[in-house]
């Protein structure tokens, strides 16, 4: 093949693929979310398609930064995006997401008032995010290693668990966890040195750092760890779906809470479909099925939580007012803070050597 032909062919292929990628069908809803996080459950997308005629096309991200970049570089491609409330502010400021007409979402009225009116999601009386689920980064234990579940975060430092502790390989989470362990506000860490000292003394206890649910579950399945930081929804999934001996512990010192919400990107080609999808995601019927079949965090929809059995973990424990008092919701953090946290975390990991 001569060169010009080949160039022409390559250009043609490139144009064709990008055209295909951007040719969003009117009745398609392009959803951007973490993988395996509710919105891509096959039974759920099937039910939604049957009910509304909109076909769900899922795309995934591996970090909040990646999600933001995907929104910036593909304007008009996505119709629904799942954003941690702590990042909603940034997405709005960069004009990546648009205000949502909540009157189109029948289920919006049932969302708990404190979540729906969160200043992280509502700016100038306009709603930029519909609260979906919330959960905790708390502790989870291997039931085989404990006769009675611990109540304090100090358990992580107990020499009895030396080499059998795990913590997520994430700078922000590690620093916020250190803040709780030293009795500080996770969103306003005053004494960074105390956090550093506390985490330094935790390092020798650690078996390995986990980065995915699968890592955690594997280590419990092969009985390699006793205790570690874990997400509440994941602990529920480990127990319900994978039948592992895992229990979530909300230490008396507190836990990090996060709120996940759905937003509609600027330039969405199917706003009506997006509204229908978000409404379906906060629907009690979907939520109960998600919890029963797979395991999930706590819905922001009060009716959805009430639809769970009375003794369900997400209703009984997570709904306990005493728990609500000691958890701290993550607020947005600045790039400078993020960098400082990362530098501290890397230093800690290198000093282990």
């Amino acid at each position: 093949m001569r060169m010009p032909d080949l160039t022409a062919l390559l250009t043609a292929t490139a144009v064709l693929t990008s055209a295909l990628a951007f040719a969003a069908n009117a009745d398609e809803v392009h959803v951007l979310n973490w993988k395996g996080y509710g919105a891509d459950e096959p039974w759920a997308t099937e039910a939604f398609e049957k009910a509304t005629g909109n076909k769900v096309v899922n795309d995934f991200f591996n970090s909040e930064q990646e999600m933001l970049t995907k929104l910036r570089t593909n304007p008009g491609l996505y119709d629904v995006v799942m954003i941690n409330a702590a990042f909603n502010d940034q997405a709005m400021a960069e004009k990546l997401i648009q205000p949502i007409d909540t009157s189109k979402l029948p289920n919006y009225a049932d969302i708990s008032k404190d979540k729906a009116s969160s200043p992280m999601l509502v700016h100038n009386d306009k709603v930029y995010g519909v609260p979906w689920v919330w959960g905790l980064t708390a502790l989870a234990i291997n039931d085989k290693s404990f006769d009675k579940p611990p109540t304090s975060i100090a358990e992580m430092w107990d020499p009895a668990h030396k080499g059998r502790v795990t913590i997520r390989d994430d700078a922000v989470e590690a620093v916020q966890f250190g803040a709780i362990a030293t009795g500080q506000n996770i969103n306003d860490v005053k004494d960074m040195e105390a956090v550093k000292a506390k985490l330094t003394s935790l390092m020798p206890q650690i078996k390995t750092f986990w980065s995915s649910e699968n890592d955690w579950n594997q280590m419990v399945a092969s009985n390699q760890i006793d205790i570690g930081t874990y997400w509440s929804g994941s602990a529920d999934r480990a127990k319900t779906h994978f039948k592992l001996p895992v229990s979530l512990v909300i230490p008396r010192e507190g836990a990090v809470a996060w709120l996940d919400a759905f937003s509609i990107p600027v330039g969405s080609k199917n706003v009506a479909g997006a509204e229908a999808f978000i409404n379906y995601m906060v629907d009690p019927k979907f939520y109960v099925e998600w919890v029963t079949k797979v395991g999930a965090p706590v819905s922001a929809n009060t009716k959805a939580v009430e639809a769970l059995p009375e003794d369900a973990f997400n209703r009984k424990v997570m709904g306990d007012p005493a728990v609500a008092k000691r958890i701290q919701f993550q607020a947005p953090i600045t790039d400078a803070q993020r960098e400082a946290y990362l530098s501290l975390w890397q230093q800690l990991k290198v000093n282990v050597k």
Binding site: M3, L6, L10, N62, S63, Q65, E66, L68, T69, R72, T73, E94, D169, D170, A171, M203, I206, K207, T208, F209, S222, N223, Q224, R338, L342, S343, Q346, Q347, K349, V350, V352, K353
Partner: protein, 289 residues
């Protein structure tokens, strides 16, 4: 006359062009363009994709020197590269010798196949199978305790040795293959001549076999050392809390914090260090070749 030669070589180039074009086109598209883009990124304050204002800066390169962290990690990675290369020589060279000089026919093919077999499986699958073997209560631990009369506790998982084991396993075939090729090329009559002149086995090895197979050893070592220094998957999965290396920090910059400029700058510093090492070693290598 000279003009004729030049014309001939030019027409030689012209007729070779269709053969060269696919490879060079591919290299340009798949390697040169992304690498140039990375050089460009490494000099920026922000990714242009992020929509934020950006400017040119050398800050990403100075970041390497402003914190002892990166240098510590780079040295750790270089040490890892040397150790893995050394173990690959210890394990791979004798195997290559046996394949080239001792075994013949069917048995050679069979053993050869076993050496290449790991290449046919996915790298991640190999690492996860090591994880099953090395952990406490894993395959190695259980098997040894079933055979041995006393109780031993083997828990190599999440440790530095585990990283070495995983990497040696991944890269040893390179050493076997390169050494096999040069060892096989050694004329048997040279070995017979040495023997008949009274050389001991050790002398034969030192004076004839190793010098003649040096090109294979050097090529194998370079093929192994360079990727191991930048490796991140094996340390991350097998190394546990000791698994932080230069490669894993670069991966973090790209995947976890999305700081591509810093990640790119760190990668190019690694590339520069590896090139310096190869340049310094090249007189020695050339003599060996």
């Amino acid at each position: 006359m000279a003009a004729q030669v030049a014309a001939a070589s030019r027409s030689g180039l012209r007729s070779a062009l269709p053969l060269l074009a696919p490879a060079y086109l591919w290299l340009t598209v798949a390697i040169f363009l992304p690498l140039s883009a990375m050089v460009f990124f490494s000099l920026m304050t922000e990714l242009p994709l992020s929509g934020k204002p950006w400017a040119f800066t050398l800050e990403n390169y100075t970041a390497f020197f402003s914190q002892s962290l990166y240098l510590t990690l780079l040295l750790a990675s270089l040490r890892l590269g040397l150790e893995v290369t050394l173990w690959c020589i210890i394990v791979g060279y004798p195997a290559a010798y046996v394949l080239a000089k001792v075994l013949k026919g069917r048995s050679r093919e069979a053993i050869f196949l076993l050496v290449i077999l790991p290449f046919w499986s996915n790298g991640l699958v190999r690492i996860f199978s090591w994880a099953m073997v090395l952990r406490e209560g894993g395959i190695l631990d259980t098997a040894l305790n079933a055979v041995l009369p006393f109780k031993i506790n083997i828990d190599l998982m999440y440790s530095y040795p585990a990283v070495i084991i995983g990497l040696v396993h991944s890269y040893v075939p390179y050493m076997v293959l390169t050494c096999y090729l040069t060892l096989q090329a050694i004329d048997d009559s040279l070995i017979e001549a040495g023997r008949s002149l009274g050389a001991s086995r050790l002398q034969m090895l030192k004076r004839v076999i190793i010098p003649l197979s040096m090109p294979g050893l050097v090529a194998g070592a370079a093929l192994i050392f360079v990727p191991v220094v930048g490796s991140f998957m094996e340390p991350r999965i097998l190394g546990g809390r000791t698994g932080t290396f230069y490669g894993t920090v670069i991966e973090d910059q790209f995947v976890a914090v999305f700081n591509w400029p810093l990640g790119a700058a760190l990668s190019f510093i690694l590339l520069a260090v590896v090139l310096v090492i190869l340049a310094v070693a090249s007189p020695v290598l050339r003599r060996a070749m």
